[in-house]
Amino acid sequence: MSNDLSTLDEEHVRQLGRIIETLERSTFDFIQLEIGDLKVTIGKGNIPVPEATSPPARPAVAAPGTMPPSAPAPAQTTPAPRQVQSSGHAHPGAVDIKSPIMGLFYAQPEPGAPPFVTVGATVGEDSTVALVEVMKTFNAVSAGVRGRIVEVCVLDAQLVEFGQVLFRVMPE
């Protein structure tokens, strides 16, 4: 048996369609169908996945110390960059400008100067949008895309991680 879509003929697709329609009319969230090698899952929301793996560290009684609020809780497995990306839901179609290195984020060329960009600013691919400092070395970050800044995702002088979203841009 060839394991590709060719095994799905006209008739199968019609049958699947009817299953979907029946499911649609019902109040159920999903159907899972498994016939030997063939597996079909139809549903709403995310594909349900069996969770994994290893124990998260969650203090049972008391935390040994306190961390600044910016620090994620130990049990939280989502890394910071993804949290930032999720804020972009408010701007469908917008793209991210990510930090090419980890370091301290500066929104302006020097203290007291106006920021490189603010929300509403138009940028070209080569426009410098920020500086990221690693031990007195300042690295210019280019927009990499033409468009309009719709969101500034980090605060001035904050530590940004490698790959962290700095700005969101609506391409033009």
Binding site: T53, S54, P64, M67, P68, T77, M102, L159, E161, F162
Partner: protein, 454 residues
Amino acid sequence: MTISRVLIANRGEIALRIIRACQELGIETVLATSEADRDSLPARLADRAICIGPARSAQSYLNHRAIVTAAIGAGADAIHPGYGFLAESPDLAEASASNGITFVGPTADHMRRMGNKIQARLLAREAGVPTLAGSEKIGSPQEALAVAERVGFPVILKAAAGGGGRGMKVVTSARNLEQTFTAASAEAGSAFGDPTLYIERYISNARHIEVQILGDRFGNVVHVGERDCSLQRRHQKIVEEAPAPSIAENLREEIRNAAVKLARNINYENAGTAEFIYDEDEKRFYFLEMNTRIQVEHPVSETISGIDLVQEQFRIADGQPLRVAQPDIVFRGHSIECRINAEIPEDGFRANAGLIEEWAPPVGPNIRIDTHCYAGYRVPIFYDSMLAKLIVYGSTRGEAVQRMKRSLERFVVTGVGTTIPFLHFMMQREEFASGAVTTHLIEDVMPQFSGSSR
């Protein structure tokens, strides 16, 4: 403890090991991770994780500027480098110091002096510690030949900036010397940025014995016993034990004292290891090099001494005097460590990465597992292949060997090939059981293992 938040500049099991030491000391942990390790177990168990760069070590774990920046940005007042990566980098130690951050390890100066193996040999001789007959530094194949003829073949060519088993070549006769010299020098230049070589007499029937040292800022130095790390493949250790089996008690004392003397002579600070080669035929030992960091195999010393070496590292770095004098250190029983690597022993210990499907390490009294792995963990291709360290204790060496054998039998890993079957095979070898462990044992028995596993 004035250290309140540490940046851990490492990954894998040692990152987790350091996190655990910190949890007990009440030190907050910030883990510097590469992009590939962002969701790793240590990243989840640290109080905070910061992605410092892409998967490739050169741009993340080997980037000392990124590490210091991350420490400053996270408000850490200390950096622990673990082992490997930048653990012996004077640059990281110096950059930490000049930014007011405590480096959990020796000073940059200690690292520089011991990092150059030729200088380390000189320091050993100054301290009256025996070294192998050989040269300080050789500049040409001709010079190499003269030295080799003086000390006698076989000889071993080593990179002055090498260490940890890397950059070494054995030469058995004058015929191959010139060619090997040229190749080794070029290799050393590209691998360590320094083509300098030196020659030593090569001991074929040898054991690798090393002494764990702790020194504080006040000139106190103690040893925490010796380890035998003779079981190696490609000059890299895979089984370590403490104490060293089958050596005379007076030699054991001598080797321990030699290490203490060497460390005291340079006012060595923090944890370190003096490595020796032990000539099984002559029953003599010679200094090889000193590692200025915590080592992979530190748990066997912890097990026989009851001392938490990583916690002691923090106390020493914090400026506290050693809590124990030599007579306070009580050694008891025997400990063995096996490195569980994602490697195919039959295929020249070729590394293999992939998804760990099942992961069920043995549990029970006197069994310790140091690992960052779990079922569902994908072993990244970018780093070394060690998955776990399995450490056992026994009242006697025989009991420890037996426990290790049974523990390996119960260690279930599927999805990636591991060294478990090979380690189990080694535990059953008469040579290992009798303590007749030499650096060439693995090579000797490999054909039989490959045969049996078919």
